[in-house]
Symmetry: D2
Subunit: 154 residues, 4 copies
């Protein structure tokens, strides 16, 4: 695959008014929504059909044998983020072991780090809820995201 | 049934900081979350098991033959609502026809109307997504909520 | 101004997993978040600095003499919306009178109407909270959005 | 003060349908909303006026000289949480140094640990955004919450 990881590992986002609180800045837990949505956009731009990865009530659901629950997440907030800010979200996916992985997301505004988020998933069988090997599409995305990429500072 | 509808048709709520925006007041769409949560609390206090009404990924889900999608909702906002406000939510459920119903929620602060929300649901078969008669627990709750109650102004 | 209103009155959005509920479809009140965010994106693409319109805790806040609270909103839901759906949001702004306006947002998926949202704002003085004439940037955006546009069906 | 810390350090919460996602379980980032709301309820039950602690657009705002931005947060998820679950939220506040503190929140369902959240705040001057000593009401609440309490396992 000759695609450039930059194509699917950097996502852009503009901060919206409803994401702020009465202190006038982004309300903290929206960061995790942004992290998850950036990961979804990354999978999509890599070439996945998100309905092969996330369950839904209408299409394909029957065939989804796995789920990817979140077991841990964390965030650091360095600078206040306000309505209208343009953010670059740089994703750092990492396989942890055969049944789990994590995605760090570095948030930058005009090149400056403003926040950092991390979400850790484990793969489970959707019926038994026992852990299982990472599903193929996730493994492929993880592999392509780390290959070619070279060391990236965090 | 000798329970007093007041027991399950008035719900209390305190406004929290994360529900405000940078204008310093409650961000508008939280009102709909409050309406839905008040309805859930009402069903529960009436004596329902919410897992007989709402699907979930773990328990009982297999047996739920219906869904209750929302087809319309609306809200009017009269006075600003801020962090720490104590609100009384007064529910006015109403059967529309054999397959649909709505719940109006009047929001009061110290007896004064501050906002009004309305959510309209239709019953459908969860598999075919064709409309179907209101499920029995919802019919019972609707009936008990209108009987005994007498006229209530809105 | 020779810009084409189409440039700032049609916004795209992909539905994300966290916007669904356990019924497997988009949870209803997210529609209002989408409407508001589409309006913000429209203002921005029209050429506004959103910090001239929405308050924030860091920049320019001191100078914002007006606020634009929402007094009414409503939505109709026609078809289920699921994770990964590509939606076109078509905005229909409308001046109501000298101190209020509304924005209808038509949601389409592959040309088919799936939902409709509407948000009505009134302009107030941020200090006194008395209503006031629509601020200039909003008036300009409303005018440009209706001029040139010709009749559009809804 | 002879109040029992148990009075303000254990909060109850029922999981609502809109807090789930299409995998049928609680969508992860709601946990942080619950942590923050539990902290607000704790302050209130301890005897605080939340408008002395959180800014708002209407009352008292002028006098709030400090803000309490979040600099770090994290969560661990152990068991799936579904609609209708009754949760006990047990708060473990801790002063870190003269300008920062954190609150751990243990989530239990029928005595079993299902999740753990942690939020760390720093006190800053609301105008200069330089860090400042913890405001008196927060110091008092932290002190009362650790005194009398004895060792509590986590």
């Amino acid at each position: 695959m000759s695609k450039d990881p930059g194509d699917w590992l950097v996502v852009k986002r503009v901060v919206r008014f409803g994401e702020t609180d009465a202190a006038g800045v982004m309300h903290f837990h929206n960061l995790f929504r942004w992290c998850h949505e950036a990961w979804e956009e990354s999978l999509e731009r890599y070439g996945m059909n998100v309905n092969d990865i996330f369950p839904n009530g209408i299409e394909k659901d029957e065939n989804l044998e796995f789920a990817l629950p979140i077991v841990h997440c964390q965030a650091d907030f360095r600078l206040p983020i306000i309505t209208g800010n343009y953010l670059d979200l740089i994703l750092y996916p990492e396989k942890i072991d055969m049944w789990s992985f994590q995605v760090k997301t570095q948030f930058q505004r005009e090149g400056e780090n403003v926040a950092l988020g991390l979400i850790r998933h484990v793969a489970i069988n959707a019926k038994t809820r026992e852990r299982c090997p990472l599903p193929t599409p996730i493994s492929r995305w993880l592999e392509s995201s780390s290959i070619d990429l070279g060391p990236r500072p965090l």
